[in-house]
Symmetry: D2
Subunit: 277 residues, 4 copies
């Protein structure tokens, strides 16, 4: 018995150049498309009637981009979802995931070059559209926003059992590679400015917080986004704790001044939360 | 308002050696632990009372392993879940994910060396335990089982629209890196033999199938596992389509005999399904 | 017979915080150390007398950092090389490789926060010191500088044989992830300002060039660095050609306007050169 | 001044199917091609006359494979090098790097399926051909051969200075992901059987050695290959020390029995040597 199924195309890479008189605009997206619907006979009987090939999904990304410039991942995702729902009667539920690599114009002699770009990162802009016959949902986000603060970060007063060896600390490095996704109240949003405002709000609230834990800071930055951006109704945050362990210099006859750290990748704490109005 | 939250430790790497008289046994696990429960005040008020540090979660992995040999990822996951639920009154729901790197003994002169091992792969064995005060659920699985068949694979009769350029084919390479997870009826299973039987069943049913699509083969191998292993009640399969594109040799004045392919990583089709009794 | 040998420690990760009255400074380095010398008996006889453990190499990174703030990768590499040569009579030749992850201060209300940082990338700053009893050589560099230009890039007039299918193009996207390493005339250089000037020169010369090929642009940017930075005596450049293939929209009944591209990761062209005065 | 230059194509992926009456044979190669020669004007003047596009190099891989089955990476590399040297008068020195992903036939009911394969790993087979007008050199190799031994591995008697904290140990886990490349005396070798014999020799000599250090074991396994395979004249070995650190269980009131380890990825020791007759 087929309980559940989905199929689609991932890692469809699109670079769209918009040739304007005085400059080129660049949009660099990686798109994933996922269909759920009445495709049981494809699985159970090998009957492909009604199945849109994933190769055609890929072609659709390029054709729709060509038909109208991709100005924002959010609007392009909405257009793709609408297109697939309109054309595929067996499709009940479509999901479009988009990740935008950010490029900045190269400054030459203090002026932006109109045709040359330098990649920005490591953080990327994301969007997700899910659509059915009844409703369309839109979320936007940011991944891999790497941040670190070296003051106002503590972790004390936690549970101690016989397996606990972590000392209390009132002065540690707090570093994370933040991923956030948020839902907008409507699809009638200036997506670019909203995204940039949220990115800046994430950075500022991270910097400004008196952190008692990753969880504590997570909640504070979620609150800050909800406060500052009225169109956001809910935000989901994921923050791996990128541990920076103080090196015990006393073994070398040196004083420990909380200045020398080992950055570690594993194991890592992983904290997540959804915060809504 | 905190709608949802979770925290835990990921990438806890454990290698346990069991020193027997005539040989060593080796178990190589990577563990992730995830807590959900009454931890709101940690987020909203920076109050860590009741919060078990993720560092202690990590220590627990090592201490529990030391207290009793880890014989199977499934049983170790069950032990960890039980331990955390017993000790943490605020914990409502715990999830343990385990991935085992497989090692084989090195054959020396036709005999297995008792203390030397060679890594097997790329496929790995996995298990997941989710536990609450009311119930414990266990699933097991395999990731990255790389398989390819060069006959009895077709893809024809699909929807054609004006964006479809894929030709019908009745003879293509079908390749995937299979991930499967399945739920057992009980926790009273010989996990090692069951896992090996399921791996072999996945391989054999993949090899033996007359494939009309990835979906079709997916269903067939799911069915084969349910048929052959009575303790499995449900199986979830994920199969990225690792496309092998025929090179058009006619451009070089050579005959196309469907023998020369480009293996590609992106874009890729992604098919998934859950099959149950 | 042992023809050649080397040993060392890789991926030593150091984060140094310098606590000043009004701000913290941050230096985030990954260091690799490589020894070559009279260590034959370690290999041939299992005699470790004279062998400095790689674990001690790692400790040395932290101890030397603690003893004096790491201000630049170049100077820290020089200090490490000097230390190891002074202490290890069997060491003939030491190599130190350093990669710096770049962090910027988070702007809060238009002002740099003194204790909070956001990761910059994808490009990183590198340095390499090689030292022997006779001489010390220093190079600096940049890796993963991702750049793209959408005009003034052609590739025409190349060799055509019966296996050539690439059309001439006088208007293509040129994209690369540039790695450059350069040697300084002396070690008496303001390394930070020099590095930033060279990065800017790489960007500007890439943007400004009328490119007949990746090779052509590579030479031009190498020349630009040598021209603008008198202390650089030689520069080595590596530029993978990150191909952006135009999508043939005519298959969908759409006009090809050279605006829609597939970004591909493989295969890729790989171009390198060393340019000197 | 252009001191040195090279260009080529990397990550050319070829899967060749040989259709025999009773079975298919599969060869899965990733190829890189690198040209050095009289290509200065391409760099300095943007003159592409004489430059073979890297796209044609890629096509050549497919065309040559189609013209004659690729039976071994070594022979295919030799054929590619010969082809490029014969056709490109400006080419002085060509290098072909080949990596073969290994596949085994899927056993079905105790018999090998003739058309279905399962990927083997993590180790892969490699070959390198370098050719000029005067000579051709061939080497073969293996990468990522993951091995671990849990007895007969010590590390004692090394240099101690004030920064040394590593204790002597006469019983540690020794694990590595071995890469070996070797040169053959002639090109008239049964490459497949030789490769398998060398792989087995690497495994057996690793298992059988009383190790005083990674270096010591490296030399022993290099010697074993030279002893057992007369056609090998030189072998280069690279062995990252995949450290397994004993967990200090005494912190949890448990006995340390040298059975519980943390596998770590960084930092890591890196040992290499070339051993010849």
């Amino acid at each position: 018995m087929l309980v559940e199924s989905a199929y689609g195309k991932s890692r469809v890479r699109l670079v769209q150049l918009t040739r304007r008189d005085d400059r080129h605009d660049l949009c660099d997206l990686t798109v994933a498309i996922r269909f759920q619907g009445q495709y049981e006979e494809c699985y159970t009987a090998g009957d492909n009637a009604g199945v849109l090939p994933t190769d055609t999904m890929k072609n659709t990304v390029y054709a729709l981009a060509a038909a109208g410039a991709v100005t924002q991942p959010e609007t392009f995702g909405l257009a793709l979802a609408k297109h697939f729902l309109a054309r595929n009667p067996r499709l009940d539920h479509v999901r479009i995931d988009l990740t935008e690599r950010r490029w900045a114009r190269i400054p030459v002699g203090g002026q932006d070059d109109p045709h040359a770009f330098v990649g920005q990162g490591p953080d990327a802009r994301t969007a997700q559209v899910t659509g059915s016959r009844e409703e369309t949902r839109l979320s936007a986000g940011i991944t891999d926003l790497l941040v670190l603060k070296s003051s106002r970060s503590a972790f004390t007063g936690f549970v101690r059992d016989e397996l606990t060896t972590l000392p209390d600390t009132d002065d540690r490095i707090l570093a994370t590679s933040l991923t956030a996704t948020w839902r907008y109240r409507t699809t009638d949003v200036e997506f670019g400015p909203a995204w940039r405002l949220i990115r800046q709000t994430l950075l500022e609230s991270f910097a400004g917080h008196d952190s008692a834990s990753v969880q504590h800071t997570m909640y504070a930055i979620g609150e800050a986004v909800l406060e500052r951006v009225a169109d956001v109704v809910e935000i989901h945050l994921v923050m791996p704790n990128k541990h920076h362990l103080p090196v015990d210099l006393s073994r070398f006859g040196l004083e420990n001044r909380n200045e020398i750290f080992v950055a570690t990748d594993e194991p890592f704490g992983l904290i997540e939360a959804t915060i809504a109005r």
